[in-house]
């Protein structure tokens, strides 16, 4: 069911006056979590920008009850909380709001364990493609060729295909979303809330500070990432894989917006734009992602027919 914006209640979803940078995608994303899931939500936040946005006691800058926890145990803590709420008979959704470093690098064993146990949590990975909070260091999810403070001439390894890795755990629900298309993200969150078991949502979040672009372009760059094919929106639900409508029209590379349109707005890709060889490598990385997505779409389109 498509979402009508005018139907959403007039209320404050976020908490104005927090410590986030202007144009921050995380505060945008947290508002959409509130719009989608309402008030019966508890967040588990490992170290990251979201820990800083809360500010100092006695006020909190995020409009949710939050458990702040160390990097390596966000998913485990959420599993325990989910079981505790179940024992108490309370209908509370436990959401992990972790950055890309806390998901793909440091917190990965906890994520993998929670996925294997199929604990009833929603895991949202806010993928801003580097360790932004500590000063823009490279992470496993930084794309090829991107500048960070630890990769001065551009990263030499491709991005870890994390949504596909979680999908391989055979969990009930895996989806990718972006802050550029909030309606899509809200619908996916609402669908995830109805499913029992481990739900994983990969949220693409362009960071103005770390990606070196103007704060006003956060939404536009997130949309361009989808339109150029650099980020693929899909949904995997009970053995069925499908591309989301926003990404489905870019299956054909000829219909995509040229990749340079996405790269030239960001300061971190300037070395890639100057070097045609690096640009080809980045293109190859994106093509590889699309090859995986299209293979999965072909192979997992209709599990009913195989039975």
């Amino acid at each position: 069911m498509p979402l009508r914006l005018a139907d959403l209640p007039r209320r404050r979803y976020g908490s104005p006056g927090n410590a986030a940078c202007p144009g921050c995608p995380e505060t945008m994303g947290l508002r959409y979590v509130k719009m989608a899931l309402g008030d019966n939500v508890v967040l588990v936040i490992p170290a990251g920008c979201s820990s800083v946005i809360q500010g100092i006691r006695p006020k909190s800058g995020i409009n949710f009850p939050i458990l702040n926890i160390v990097f390596a145990s966000a998913a485990s803590a959420a599993s325990g909380m989910s079981s505790a709420f179940e024992m108490l008979g309370q209908d509370v959704k436990v959401v992990v709001w972790a950055g890309d470093g806390g998901t793909a690098d440091i917190g990965f064993q906890a994520l993998s364990g929670a996925a294997e146990r199929n604990d009833d949590i929603i895991y949202i990975c806010v993928d801003n493609e580097a360790y932004m909070n500590t000063g823009i260091q490279r992470s496993g999810l930084t794309p090829y060729g991107a500048w960070t403070t630890t990769t001065w001439t551009g990263k030499t390894e491709p991005k870890k295909p994390l949504p596909f890795i979680v999908l391989a755990h055979n969990v009930p629900y895996v989806a990718t979303a972006t802050v550029g298309y909030p309606q899509d993200f809200i619908e996916k969150l609402r669908k995830a809330a109805t499913i029992r078991g481990f739900k994983y949502i990969h949220l693409h979040a362009p960071c103005p500070v770390g990606w070196r672009f103007d704060p006003s372009l956060t939404a536009k760059i997130a949309q361009l990432a989808v339109q150029t094919g650099a980020f693929i929106l899909f949904e995997y639900e009970n053995g069925r894989f499908r591309l989301s409508p926003y990404s489905g029209m870019y299956r054909d590379p000829k219909r995509r917006v040229p990749l340079e349109e996405y790269l030239k707005l960001q300061g971190r890709f300037q070395t890639v734009l100057k070097d045609p060889q690096k640009l080809e490598m980045l293109r190859a990385e994106i093509d590889e992602m699309w090859r995986w997505a299209l293979l999965l779409e072909k192979g997992m389109a209709s599990p009913e027919l195989k039975k």
Partner: protein, 99 residues
């Protein structure tokens, strides 16, 4: 035991955890960070609510008739509202000049 929920004893409190509660202005009036101010021209507004949806700070508020206004106490002036507006009804005006 009655009911399905297990009886859980209230744990003894040994220390008081520092708990903070959600409130506006946890980092002060962030409107002071602003260098450019969004000004909405309501005659061009088509009530699409994109600015309200994309505003990271929740500083674009909806009136009863779904026209929008800005909370200048907390607006950080990022300009996302002006960038996503389909009818260019929002202008970014430099702060400090004539109003």
């Amino acid at each position: 035991m009655s009911g399905t929920a297990a009886v859980v004893e209230k744990p003894k409190t040994y220390w008081v955890a520092p708990i903070s509660y959600p409130a506006p202005a946890s980092s002060g009036k962030t409107g002071l960070w602003r260098t450019e101010r969004p000004v909405i021209h309501l005659e061009k507004c088509v009530k699409c609510l994109y600015c309200w949806l994309y505003c990271p700070e929740d500083t674009i508020l909806r009136r009863e008739d779904d026209y929008v206004y800005v909370d200048y106490d907390y607006c950080k002036g990022c300009g996302i509202c002006a960038a996503v507006c389909p009818t260019n009804a929002i202008d970014m005006v430099p702060e400090g000049g004539e109003s």
